[in-house]
C-alpha cells in the first residue's frame, strides 16, 4: 500500500511541476515580448519540468523497491545469533520465511523462539527506516529537480524538441519490451532446463520411452527411479493434436468455403459471429464440457459397442479441442479465400466450370499456401492448449496410438509438475521447464513457418 501512496504523491507533484514550469515560461516570456518570443509553447516547458520531476523519482522508486528486500534480509541475517546464521542455506531460508510471516501476521511454523521474534522486530524497524528514507529521498529529488529545471527555463530553451525526444525514447522502450519478453521466456526456461539436463541426459530425455517423474524422498522408496523419457508425452500430445485437427480442419475449412462462396448475406451475418463465439469461450469451459459431457458420452457409447473406453480418453480431449479450433481454422481460411482475386473466379466460371469446380480447381489451389499456414498455426495452438487436456486427458504416460486409451500431453505434465509446492533443485520440477522449452521451441518454429507462408502468400495477390 505504501508504494501506491508514494506513486500518487509522485503524480500529484509532477502535475504541480507542470504548472510551475508553465507559469515560469509565461513569466520569462514577458522580458522578450510575450509568448511569441518563446522557442516552444508554454505547455512544453511545463511538460519538460514535469518529466524531469517524475522520471528520476520513478526510477529511484523502482530500484529501491527491487533492492530493498534482499538488503534488509541480509542485514537481519547478519544480526541473528551465530548458532542460527551458521545454519545451512535451506534451513536459514525457512527461518527467514518465519520472520516474514511474523511481520505480515501470518501463522508461523511452530512457536517462534525469542531470537526470531527479535529478528522480526529488527526486520520491521529496518523496513520502517527504509520506507521513510525512500519517501524522503524521492521527495528531495522531485523538489530539487523541479526547482533546478524551473530556473533553467529561458526563452531560448528548446523545450519542445527535448520533450519530444524524451517521449520518443519512452515509446521506443515500450516497443523494446516485446523483445524483453521473448528474451525473458527463453532465458527463464533455458536456465532451468539446462539445470535439468545436468541431471538427466539430453538423449535420455528426448528418446527415452518411459515417463514417471516421481523422484524419491528416501532412497529406498518403491518406484523411486524417476524415469524422464519424454517420448510417451510427445506421442500423447501428437495423438490429441491429430484428433483435434481431424475435427477442426474439415469442418473449419468447409465452413469457410461455404460462408465465403455460397452463403447469402443474411446467413453469413448470422453464422459468422456465431462461429466466432466458439473462439471466445474460455478454454476452461471447454475443459469442463469435455470432462462432464463428452468423455462420459464417449465412454458409454463405447461401452454399448463393446469397446473399453477410458473415461479420460484421448478422443474426448481431442474432439473438444477440435471444436475449439474450428473458428480459428475457419477465420484464417476465410481471410485467405477472400484474398484470392475475383478475376480468377470469374475466369473459371466464364469457361463454363461449375462453382464446385471453380472452388476445387482454382480457388483452393490458389489459397493453399495460406490455408496450410493457417493449419500450421492451428496445430501450434493445439499443441500448446492446456486447460482442455488438464481437465479431460489423463496423467499416465502411455505410449499408444489408440484414441480410446488415456494419454498425457506436454502441457498436462507441466501443470501437474508445477502446481503446488515445488523445490527448485529436484529434477521433477526442472523437468517441467525442459518440457516448456521444447514446447516453446516447437511452437515457435511452427509459428515462424506459418507466419512466413501466410505473409508470402498475401504479398502474392496484393
Amino acid at each position: 500500500m505504501r508504494t501506491s501512496y508514494l506513486l500518487a504523491t509522485i503524480v500529484v507533484l509532477a502535475c504541480a511541476s507542470y504548472f510551475l514550469g508553465r507559469s515560469r515560461a509565461f513569466a520569462v516570456s514577458r522580458s522578450c515580448g510575450g509568448v511569441r518570443g518563446l522557442h516552444s509553447l508554454p505547455s512544453h516547458y511545463g511538460m519538460w519540468t514535469a518529466l524531469w520531476c517524475a522520471l528520476p523519482a520513478l526510477l529511484v522508486c523502482a530500484v529501491w523497491n527491487a533492492a530493498e528486500s534482499p538488503i534488509i534480509t541480509s542485514l537481519v541475517v547478519a544480526g541473528l545469533p551465530a548458532d542460527i546464521s551458521s545454519l545451512p542455506p535451506n534451513r536459514l531460508s525457512l527461518i527467514i520465511n518465519d520472520i516474514r510471516n511474523i511481520i505480515s501476521g501470518n501463522i508461523t511454523s511452530g512457536t517462534p523462539s525469542p531470537a526470531i521474534m527479535q529478528a522480526a522486530e529488527h526486520y520491521r524497524a529496518l523496513q520502517a527506516i527504509s520506507v521513510n528514507a525512500m519517501s524522503a529521498v524521492i521527495l528531495a529529488i522531485m523538489v530539487a529537480a523541479g526547482i533546478a529545471v524551473r530556473n533553467r527555463i529561458s526563452p531560448a530553451l528548446k523545450a519542445r524538441n527535448k520533450v519530444e525526444k524524451l517521449i520518443q525514447i519512452l515509446l521506443f522502450l515500450s516497443s523494446a519490451i516485446a523483445i524483453l519478453i521473448t528474451v525473458g521466456i527463453v532465458l527463464s526456461v533455458l536456465f532451468e532446463a539446462i539445470r535439468f539436463f545436468k541431471v538427466v541426459h539430453l538423449s535420455d530425455f528426448l528418446f527415452g520411452l518411459s515417463w514417471s517423474p516421481q523422484t524419491a524422498i528416501r532412497s529406498d522408496q518403491v518406484g523411486s527411479s524417476g524415469a524422464f523419457g519424454a517420448v510417451p508425452v510427445f506421442a500423447g500430445t501428437a495423438l490429441i493434436a491429430l484428433i483435434a485437427m481431424l475435427v477442426a480442419v474439415p469442418i473449419g475449412l468447409m465452413s469457410a468455403i461455404y460462408l465465403s462462396e455460397y452463403a447469402g448475406k443474411r446467413f453469413r451475418t448470422i453464422a459468422k459471429p456465431l462461429l466466432e463465439i466458439l473462439a471466445g469461450i474460455p478454454t476452461v469451459v471447454y475443459g469442463f464440457f469435455a470432462a462432464l459431457t463428452v468423455a462420459p458420452f464417449i465412454r458409454d457409447t463405447g461401452g454399448l459397442l463393446g469397446l473399453s473406453v477410458s473415461s479420460e480418453s484421448a478422443l474426448a480431449a481431442g474432439l473438444v479441442m477440435g471444436i475449439m479450433i474450428i473458428p480459428f481454422v475457419s477465420s484464417l481460411s476465410d481471410d485467405v479465400i477472400h484474398a484470392v482475386p475475383q478475376t480468377m473466379r470469374d475466369g473459371s466460371l466464364a469457361l463454363g466450370a461449375t462453382k464446385y469446380e471453380t472452388i476445387s480447381n482454382v480457388v483452393v489451389p490458389a489459397a493453399l499456401p495460406g490455408i496450410v499456414g493457417g493449419v500450421l498455426l492451428a496445430v501450434s495452438r493445439a499443441i500448446g492448449e492446456t486447460m482442455i487436456v488438464v481437465m479431460a486427458a489423463g496423467l499416465s504416460a502411455n505410449l499408444t496410438a489408440n484414441p480410446l486409451k488415456t494419454v498425457t500431453t506436454v502441457t498436462v505434465q507441466i501443470v501437474t509438475l508445477l502446481v503446488g509446492d515445488q523445490e527448485f533443485d529436484s529434477p521433477k520440477t526442472l523437468a517441467a521447464f525442459a518440457l516448456g522449452l521444447l514446447l516453446f521451441v516447437f511452437t515457435l518454429i511452427l509459428n515462424i513457418i506459418a507466419l512466413y507462408v501466410v505473409r508470402k502468400y498475401r504479398e502474392q495477390y496484393e
Binding site: 523483445i179 469442418i251 468447409m254 462462396e261 471466445g280 469451459v285 508445477l418
Partner: protein
C-alpha cells in the same frame, strides 16, 4: 427454335452435366453440414452448461426455531458461545422422537455447518436476541439441496444414495409443515470459496479477477499503445524494427502456459514477488495480452489515412504533435476495441495463472493487489475437480457468470467499433 447440336464437344459437355451438378450439390451440402455441425457443438455446449447450472441460482433453506438460551451467552465473547449446540437443540426440538445418537447425527446433517455462523452473525448484529425465541431460515446441507432439486434419485436403494430413508422422511415432514423453501441464492454471489458447496460463492474470485485485470489493463494498454505508435509512426525501417515486428507476431502465438513458466521463473523465483496474488497474475497476463493489443493498435493506426498526417505536418505541426493531436484520437476507438478483446482474453485465461500459484484454496475476499486471491476461471477449474455433486452445478453457474462477463465485454467492443468506426 432449338437446333439439334452437332458439335461432339457440346454433346460431351451435356452428358457430363448431370454428374457435375450432382457434385456441385454434394459439395454445397457438405459445406452447410460443416457449419451446422459447428453450430450444433456450440448449442450443445451452452445447453449442457445451462442445463447443469441453472438450478444453482436457487438454494434450499430450512426453518428452525432457535431459542437463544441466555445460559449459553454467559461469557462476554460471542465466539465462544456454542452456536452449533443451539442449531442442534433446535433441530431436535423439531423432531423430539429422535433419540439415538446415530439418528441425531443424521438429523443434524440436514442443515449446513454454516448455520451456526449465521446464528452468530444474527446475535452479533442484534444482541437483544439473547433470551428470545426466533425462527430462522438456515441453509440446508448440499445433499438436501441436491435431493430437492431432483439430482438425487429417491427411488434408488438406500445404500446407493447420499440421503437415507430416515432423512427423506424428516425432509418430507418439514416440507409438509412449510419449513423448507427455495429462494434466490445470494450466497453464491456474495461469499468466497468454501469446502461446503452450499456456502461457496464466486465473489472472492470475481474480486480477484477484478484486481488482476486492473493491473493488466493499467500496464498493457499504455505500453501496448506506446509500442504500436512507435512501430507505426516513428520506427525507421531497418533490421531491428523488423525483428521486433516478427517477434511480436510470434509472441501472440506462444502457448499461454509458457507465459506462466516465465512468471514463475522471473517474477516469483527471481524477484521474489508473493505467490497467489493479483500483482503477479496481472503481470503475467500483461505480458500475454501485450502482443494482442500491439497488433490491434497497429492495425488501427494503419487505417488512419496519410492525408490526415500530411495535413497536420503541412500546417506546421511537429511529428509528435501530429501523432498526439490527430492520429491518436482517430485511432483510439480501434485501439480500445482491441484492448477490450485482449482483456476478455485475459479474463478467460487459466493456464498461466495455475503456474503462479493462483490455484490456492482461498476463503477470504481479497481486498488489494497483494492479498492471496484466485480468479473466476481458476475457481471454475477448482470446483470442477471437487467430487460433490453440488459443485457440478456451482461450476456451471460460475461458467455462466464468466460467459456473461465475456459477452458484455465483447458487446462493448462491437458497439465501440460500430459507433466510432470511420470509413475513409
Amino acid at each position: 427454335m432449338k437446333q439439334p447440336t452437332t458439335n461432339p464437344a457440346i454433346d460431351k459437355v451435356n452428358r457430363g452435366l448431370r454428374r457435375r451438378y450432382r457434385a456441385e450439390r454434394r459439395f454445397r451440402i457438405c459445406g452447410a453440414t460443416a457449419i451446422i455441425t459447428a453450430l450444433c457443438f456450440l448449442f450443445l455446449l451452452f445447453f449442457s452448461i445451462v442445463a447443469n447450472g441453472y438450478k444453482a441460482f436457487q438454494k434450499t433453506y430450512i426453518q428452525i426455531d432457535v431459542f437463544f438460551d441466555p445460559a449459553e451467552f454467559a461469557n462476554e465473547n460471542l465466539a465462544t458461545a456454542n452456536f452449533p449446540g443451539l442449531v442442534k437443540t433446535s433441530m431436535s426440538s423439531l423432531f423430539p422422537e429422535v433419540n439415538s445418537r446415530g439418528d441425531k447425527k443424521e438429523l443434524f446433517y440436514l442443515v449446513s455447518p454454516g448455520a451456526s455462523f449465521q446464528l452468530m452473525q444474527l446475535v452479533k448484529n442484534n444482541p437483544n436476541l439473547i433470551g428470545q425465541q426466533q425462527s430462522v431460515w438456515v441453509a440446508a446441507n448440499d445433499d438436501v439441496d441436491m435431493l430437492l432439486k431432483g439430482h438425487i434419485d429417491r427411488t434408488r436403494p438406500e445404500t446407493e444414495r447420499r440421503v437415507s430413508d430416515k432423512q427423506l422422511a424428516w425432509l418430507d415432514a418439514l416440507a409438509a409443515d412449510g419449513k423448507i423453501k427455495k429462494t434466490f441464492n445470494t450466497t453464491f454471489f456474495t461469499s468466497g470459496d468454501s469446502r461446503e458447496p452450499e456456502l461457496a460463492g464466486i465473489w472472492g474470485a470475481t474480486c480477484g479477477s477484478f484486481y488482476t485485470l486492473l493491473i493488466t489493463l493499467s500496464l498493457s494498454f499504455p505500453i501496448g499503445v506506446a509500442a504500436a505508435v512507435y512501430l507505426e509512426e516513428f520506427a525507421p525501417k531497418n533490421r531491428w524494427t523488423d525483428i521486433i515486428e516478427v517477434n511480436i507476431n510470434n509472441l501472440a502465438a506462444v502457448p499461454s502456459i509458457v507465459y506462466g513458466l516465465l512468471g514463475l521463473a522471473v517474477f516469483i523465483n527471481f524477484f521474489g514477488m508473493p505467490r497467489s496474488t493479483p500483482v503477479v497474475g496481472g503481470l503475467v497476463l500483461t505480458l500475454m495480452t501485450l502482443p494482442i493489443i500491439i497488433i490491434a493498435s497497429r492495425a488501427s493506426l494503419k487505417s488512419v489515412p496519410p492525408s490526415i498526417r500530411e495535413a497536420a505536418l503541412g500546417i506546421g505541426a511537429s511529428k509528435m504533435q501530429m501523432v498526439a493531436h490527430h492520429v491518436l484520437p482517430l485511432a483510439l476507438p480501434g485501439m480500445l476495441t482491441g484492448t477490450i478483446i485482449g482483456m476478455a482474453h485475459a479474463l478467460g485465461e487459466t493456464a498461466p495463472l495455475l503456474m503462479v500459484g493462483m490455484v490456492a484454496f482461498i476463503v477470504d475476499i481479497p481486498h488489494g493487489f497483494t492479498d492471496p486471491a484466485t480468479v473466476l476461471p481458476v475457481q471454475i477449474y477448482l470446483w470442477s475437480d471437487s467430487p460433490e455433486r453440488a459443485f457440478v452445478e456451482k461450476t456451471s453457474a460460475a461458467i455462466m457468470v464468466l460467459l456473461i462477463f465475456l459477452f458484455l465485454m465483447n458487446a462493448a467492443a462491437v458497439y465501440l467499433r460500430k459507433r466510432f468506426e470511420i470509413k475513409w
